[in-house]
Symmetry: C2
Subunit: 216 residues, 2 copies
Amino acid sequence: MKKSRRIIAEQEKVDKRDSLSQILNAAAVAFMENGFAATSIDTVADVLGSTKGKIYYHFKSKTDLFLAVHQDSMTQYVNAIERIALGGGTPEERLRGVLRALALQIMTRFAFSRVAVQGVELHMSRSTTPAQRKTLRSVIEMRDKGEQIFVDIIAEGVASGQFRRCEPRLIVKPMLGAMNWMTMWYRPRADETDESREALAASIIDYLIFGIRAEP
Amino acid sequence: MKKSRRIIAEQEKVDKRDSLSQILNAAAVAFMENGFAATSIDTVADVLGSTKGKIYYHFKSKTDLFLAVHQDSMTQYVNAIERIALGGGTPEERLRGVLRALALQIMTRFAFSRVAVQGVELHMSRSTTPAQRKTLRSVIEMRDKGEQIFVDIIAEGVASGQFRRCEPRLIVKPMLGAMNWMTMWYRPRADETDESREALAASIIDYLIFGIRAEP
DNA sequence: GTCTATAGCGGGATAGAC
DNA sequence: GTCTATCCCGCTATAGAC
C-alpha cells in the first residue's frame, strides 16, 4: 500500500474483528483518493487486503457502500458539534468550539471527511433505488442540521451584540467553506501531533472570527 | 437540454463560428454536472448538439479535453486578478478587488470554475501522456501564481500595519477556500443581475475582511 | 463468509463513409 | 470536418465452489 494511504488508513483504530468497519474504512480511503466514479470495487478490496467477494457479501452495490461511508462520516460530525453547541459558554466560545470540532474531524478522520465533501457534489439522481434515496435524504438532513447549529449560534451572538450585525445564513457559507476547503489542501502526515493540529485549527479559527483587518 | 444546464451554458457568449470554443463550453457544462469520470464523451456531444466524432477530431482524448477546459478556466482567472493586483490602491482596496474578481469569475463562468475546482482534486497521475503532464504542470503553476498574488497583497498589508499581524500563507487558505466553496452551493439563476451578484460578493468579502466579531 | 470465474454492458477510442 | 459503426477494455455484479 502507498505510504500516504497507509498513514490515512491508520488514523482509524478499527476493531480488527469487525468486518463492516474494516470495509467502511477501506472504502473511505479508496474513495478519498480518486472519487466515487473512478474508484473500482477491486481497488477497495486491494486496500482491504481481500477480494471483492467480501465486499459484495456485506453491501449490495458500490453506491450503497459509498452512501454508508458518507452516512458514517456525517453522523460522527453532527454528533460531535451538537454536543458542543448544547454545552455552556458565550456564543463566541461555542462558535470556536464547533469550528474546532469540525477542523479536528477533517484532520483526524480525513478519508471520511473527503467522502462527505464529495457526497455533497454527487447528485446520484440516476440509478438510485428508493432505499438509496432514503439514505441520501437522511444524510442531507444531517448536513442541514449541522449547518443550522452554526446559524443559531451566530444569530445568538448577533442578538447579544457580541457579533457584528449580519445575516447569519450568509456568513455561514464562507465560514464553513473555509473549513471544508481544508479537504483540498490539508493532508495527514506521520509526524503530526495533537498540538500541531490544534495550532492549525486555532490559526484558521482566529481568522474566521477576527478577519484580517488590524484594530483601528 | 435541462433548464439549469441551459442557463449555465448561455453564460458564455460563444462565437458560433468557433468550433473549439463551442466544444470547450459544452465540455465545461457536462463536466460541471457529474465530474470528469462520470461524464461520457457522448454526453458532451449531446450538450454540443452533435456526435463525438466532432470532439475527437479536435481533441485526442477525454483527458486532453478536460485539461483544455481547466487551462482555459485558470488562464482567464489569473489574468483577471493579475490586472487588478498590479493596479493602484491600498492593500485592502486591492485585496477587495481580487476577491471580487474571483467571486464574479465563479458566478459568471460557473461551469469553468467548477471544472477548475475538480481539476485540483484530480491527480491524474496514471495514464497521462508527457504532453498532458506538461499541461497539468502549467495549470498548477498558474494556480500557485494566483495564490501568490493574494499572499503578496496580504504581506504588504501586514507590513504597512493595515492588516493584523499574521502568517499570510495561513490566511490565504481559508480566505480562498471560503470563495472557492461557492462552487458547492451557488447556482446561476435566470433572474440574476449584475447588482445581485455584486451584493453577494460584497457580503462575503466583508466577512473575509472583518471577521464576525463586533468592534469592542 | 470469502474466494474464483465470468456474464454483461457502458463508454473510450478508431476506421472509414460522406 | 462531421457522422456512423464498431472494436475492445474495464468494471459492476452475480453464480457457484469451498
